[in-house]
């Protein structure tokens, strides 16, 4: 009871702090300096229609690299932890396979979902969505497989190689930016191309695809590791 009261009291005060922020807030009439720069220059400098993508992949590319690394790290840790939990001789209880319908359905859906994921991340610079969303969609295909066949084992080595390949390539492209263009993660190592086309915006489609691959691989790795974890 005291605990609840204390929680309520503390949160009321923090709520008060938030309330001050809320009442003090007024939306900007015009874009601020930073946003204005992006609105004005993204198209000509970066060549991406989706400004959010331009920011994520290029202007704030370092954040995104960190973000990808977060996932990479989370996947590595989850893998490490759960791999050790599985232990040596512990036999997995074999579950009854799920129904025919789900199995067949998932197999026929799989390519479609994968395609959708790929579409999302290669078009990241043009339309909403990108590597993260596409990667999540790719992972959901894996999820579907898992649901359809709970004892399904993924090839961890393959996932790991995809993960590493895309991550390493990402870093290499970043370094190319440093060597060939204006700085680390500069997308202008490839021609900016014609605005609005698939192959435009320099290295953005490439980077976003790599991110998509990587994110997909990482999510898959986390999911499969969790699904393979022993029931306690």
């Amino acid at each position: 009871m005291i605990k609840r009261a204390a929680a309520l009291l503390l949160l009321t005060i923090i709520g008060g702090i938030f309330f001050t922020l809320l009442t003090g807030y007024s939306a900007d009439e015009n874009l601020n300096l930073t946003a204005q720069y992006y609105a004005e220059n993204t198209a000509k400098d970066i060549g991406a229609a989706n400004i959010v993508t331009a920011i994520i992949v290029t202007y704030r590319g370092l954040d995104t690299l960190g973000e990808v690394t977060v996932l990479f790290l989370a996947a590595a840790i989850v893998g490490l932890v759960l791999a050790r939990s599985r232990g040596a001789g512990a036999a997995q209880t074999v579950k009854a396979p799920v129904g025919e319908l789900l199995t067949t359905g998932s197999h026929s859906l799989l390519p479609l979902i994968l395609l959708l994921g790929i579409y999302i991340f290669v078009n990241g610079h043009l339309t909403p969505g990108g590597g993260f969303q596409g990667g999540a969609v790719v992972a959901s295909a894996m999820l579907l497989l898992l649901l359809a066949n709970p004892v399904k084992r993924f090839n961890h080595r393959l996932i790991s190689i995809i993960e590493s390949f895309s991550g390493f390539s990402y870093v290499v492209i970043g370094v190319l930016g440093l060597l060939l263009a204006g700085g680390f993660l500069d997308n202008r190592i490839l021609p900016i191309g014609e605005f609005g086309q698939l192959f435009s915006a320099g290295a953005i489609p490439l980077i976003y695809s790599l991110i998509g691959l990587k994110v997909g691989a990482e999510f898959s790795s986390i999911l499969s590791n969790l699904s393979e974890a022993e029931e306690l």
Binding site: K3, R4, A7, L8, L10, L11, I14, G15, F18, F19, L21, L22, Y25, A27, D28, E29, N30, L31, N32, T34, A35, Q36, Y38, A39, E40, T42, A43, K44, A49, N50, I51, V52, I55, I56, R60, D63, T64, G66, E67, V70, L71, L73, A74, A75, I77, V78, V81, L82, S85, T127, P128, F132, F195, G196, V215, I222, L226, A229, L232
Partner: protein, 119 residues
């Protein structure tokens, strides 16, 4: 107005999430509560960048590059939220791994039972 409303909802979610994390002893429930709070933060972030009557920061046939400055909303908070969402998911995954391991050790998810370390 929409921005303020969304922002208020976001703050409410944060507080609700914190309350859940402070009062639920079950570790999984604490993690759930934090993910609610995180969603609240995302709402606040996006709401701060919102500008009435403007469109998403994507240049297409409707919004040309030249008039973007007057037509689109601030893209920066959105970029930040994207990052925050992914990071939040990473942290959640890690916490879940911890929960699993903690359960493995003690066969319990009561946070009050993991107090060997103190003082």
């Amino acid at each position: 107005m929409i921005a303020q409303l969304a922002m208020a909802t976001g703050f409410a979610l944060i507080l609700i999430g914190f309350y859940g994390a402070l009062t639920n002893r079950n570790i999984l429930r604490m993690i759930v509560a934090f993910s609610v709070a995180n969603t609240g933060v995302h709402l606040v972030l996006v709401a701060v960048g919102y500008m009435n009557g403007r469109t998403a920061p994507i240049l297409d046939s409707a919004v040309s590059a030249t008039e973007a400055v007057t037509r689109i909303i601030d893209p920066v908070p959105q970029a930040l939220v994207l990052t925050a969402i992914v990071i939040g998911m990473g942290v959640t995954a890690l916490m879940l791994a911890f929960a699993y391991k903690l359960y493995e050790k003690k066969r319990s998810l009561d946070i009050g039972k993991f107090t060997e370390l103190r003082w």
